[in-house]
């Protein structure tokens, strides 16, 4: 027998809930923390951004370098997210549907980008394909520039955000098992039919959820991108890097104005994410 589910309409029985004072203290602490660490900083960003009025704000975000930074960030996201969705799906598929040597190691290494500091991640690529390395200079001779240009930014972001999709899908696909795929197989379906008609619909919400987390991180990534980008205004500056440059030039209002764009993007992702979560739970 399953215990009855506890939903908002069916709260914990009185005898099981904590005493009132404990509740008040815990809820109070949560609100205090929320105010101090999330609400205050957020409102500060906006008050700083609009300090010199609407017109100045619009000017700041319409300024060519800012526009270029936004474009570069969106370009990075639009390349990184589909690629990582594909890689993540492939990795999750391999790990959950097949048995092979080194599977456990692969599963552990999947978390490496989370464990490693983004700065180190950036440095890895500088050491790997920088212009002073043999491989980098070979690429340079063939007119391919990776470090201090857009490909470098994309590669660094790919690395840092790789685990999101796979980590979302692996537990989901493990829980669902192979039964449905095997059933489809005995019913005569081909590999791609099984994927399109059975596997993909079963993991669709998890996949989208992972992609949203992946885009949020891609938009905001600073450390790894900072190392490989070279901070060339209008060319290799993403939004977070542009914010940093403006800030170090004591151009606070402009800096916060551009930062507010990041906040907007983050808010959009959070809304999408919770909508997705809702769908995810409903159909899981």
């Amino acid at each position: 027998m399953h215990p009855p589910k506890r939903t908002p309409g069916n709260p914990a029985p009185k005898t099981l809930s904590d005493p009132k004072p404990v509740q008040i203290v815990l809820i109070g602490l949560t609100f205090l923390f929320f105010t101090g660490f999330i609400f205050l900083p957020l409102s500060l960003v906006f008050s700083q951004a609009f300090q010199k009025g609407w017109e100045f704000y619009l000017e700041c975000i319409r300024e060519p370098y800012a526009v270029e930074a936004v474009k570069l960030t969106l370009l990075t996201v639009s390349v990184v997210v589909p690629l990582n969705a594909f890689f993540g799906l492939a990795a999750a598929w391999a790990i959950t549907k097949f048995n092979f040597r080194g599977k456990a190691a692969l599963k552990t290494l999947l978390d490496l980008p989370f464990a490693v500091s983004p700065v180190v991640a950036g440095l890895i690529f500088v050491l790997l394909v920088g212009s002073r390395t043999p491989f980098g200079s070979w690429l340079g001779e063939h007119g391919i520039k990776i470090i201090f240009s857009t490909p470098g930014i994309i590669i660094a972001t790919l690395f840092v955000t790789f685990p999101f999709v796979a980590r979302e899908l692996i537990p989901l696909m493990e829980a669902q098992g192979r039964d449905e795929e095997e059933a489809a197989l005995t019913l005569g379906a081909k590999g791609w039919q099984i994927f399109a008609k059975i596997t993909l619909p079963n993991i669709k919400w998890g996949l989208l959820y992972g992609m949203i987390l992946c885009s949020a991180r891609s938009i905001g990534e600073f450390g790894a991108v900072s190392v490989v980008s070279g901070h060339i205004r209008g060319q290799t500056n993403t939004i977070p890097l542009h914010v940093e440059i403006l800030y170090s030039e004591y151009n606070f209002t402009a800096s916060f104005a551009v930062a507010s764009l990041l906040v907007f993007l983050a808010l959009i992702t959070i809304v999408l994410k919770s909508a997705m979560e809702h769908q995810f739970k409903k159909t899981a």
């Binding site: 039964d179 449905e180 095997e182 059933a183 489809a184 197989l185 005995t186 019913l187 005569g188 379906a189 081909k190 039919q193 008609k197 059975i198 619909p201 079963n202």
Partner: protein, 357 residues
């Protein structure tokens, strides 16, 4: 011949799941693969379906060697223990799946698919659930839809992997009878795997008892139940009392008691033996009817539906003996815990050899 398995062997690392299994199934028969969990019966079923490959051996379905065919070309219907319905598809689309994935040239027209699905759902008494999703159905209903789905592709062979084991006792019994009836109507060669001897005895035309990757015995339910080939089969087919003793000069010792050895063992040399008696083949009386009766004391009385289970401590026996008697007899004899009774062993089955329980 419906299904012909020749010398199937399958190993997982060091563990031998199937050890040189050969088996023939007549077209249209319903066969039970019966054995304890881990005996290899599910592996054998998956090998027939092509979901696993044997290390060696041949699988011949309807006189065609299918050993190396991929599962989708085997034309085998498979029913899974946990239903494995497609959770994102409704009942209609689940059943139609096997037809919808056919290449364009072979796929029947829409109208025909619809008619076929509706016909199958009527057959499994689920026609009212066309638009339902699997999560809205009970276990028994899901398994019936799964069966319709497997039948939709006109399989040459139907394979059922413990199809009722996830259901509760009442539904299980109902579905069992229903499946037997269905099989009598459609006559597709079928193999089902079970660890439940009752299910196998009630449902199957023939039973194949498997243990540790080997076939112990095969035959009709009657043959297997009445003439078990060895101690394992006897023990697996129902509750038993076991007496370890020796066979000597045509007599078998049970505790301090002796019974005549069966004819085929009359002249055997002295060796260890096991004697088995089923609880319902034990007679209980308040009056001694023959000199060979045992004297026992009722230690425990259990209600088992229509039967009464008695736990008896008998003079000269180390272990208690379980007996089952009709409730009527229990009432008529006015038995109670602590009573002294006379116990007769009506049917003793003796095996020699090193089989141990």
């Amino acid at each position: 011949m419906g299904i012909e398995l020749q010398n199937i062997t399958k190993k997982f690392a060091e563990y031998t799941a199937l050890d040189n299994i050969s088996l023939n199934v007549d077209s249209g028969d319903l066969i039970a693969l019966l054995g304890p969990s881990g005996c290899g019966k599910t592996t054998l079923l998956r090998i027939i379906a092509g979901l696993e490959l044997p290390d060696s051996g041949k699988i011949i379905l309807e006189n065609k060697d299918t050993t190396n065919l991929p599962p989708r070309k085997k034309n085998v219907g498979f029913v899974f223990q946990h239903y494995a319905l497609f959770r994102r598809l409704n009942v209609f689309d689940n059943v139609a799946f096997g037809l919808n994935v056919l290449p364009r040239g072979e796929r029947p027209p829409r109208k025909e698919i619809r008619d076929r699905v509706e016909h199958l759902l009527k057959l499994v008494q689920m026609e009212w659930a066309l638009k339902r999703y699997p999560s809205q159905l009970s276990g028994g209903q899901r398994q019936r839809v799964a069966l319709a789905r497997a039948l939709a592709v006109n399989p040459k062979v139907l394979l059922l992997d413990e199809p009722f084991s996830a259901l509760d006792a009442k539904v299980r019994q109902e579905l069992r009878r229903w499946l037997r009836k269905l099989h009598d109507e459609i006559h597709v060669t079928s193999i089902f795997v079970t660890h439940d001897q009752e299910e196998a005895l009630e449902l199957a035309d023939r039973i194949v008892v498997i243990n540790k990757g080997k076939i112990e015995q095969q035959g009709t339910p009657q043959e297997v139940y009445d003439h078990p080939a060895n101690a394992f089969v006897y023990n697996f087919l129902g509750n038993v009392n076991v007496f370890h003793g020796r066979i000597r000069n045509g007599k078998v010792s049970l505790g301090t008691h002796h019974v005549d050895a069966p004819d085929e063992l009359k002249h055997t040399e002295e060796k260890p033996s096991q004697a088995f008696v089923r609880p319902h083949e034990i007679g209980i009386s308040k009056i001694q009817s023959s000199g060979s009766d045992l004297v026992g004391t009722i230690q425990e009385v259990r209600l088992l539906g229509g039967q009464i289970g008695l736990n008896l401590e008998c003079e000269g026996f180390d272990n208690p003996i379980d007996a089952e008697i009709p409730r009527e007899l229990y009432v008529n004899l006015q038995l109670a815990k602590g009573d002294k009774v006379f116990v007769s062993l009506n049917r003793v089955k003796v095996f020699t050899g090193d089989y141990a329980i």
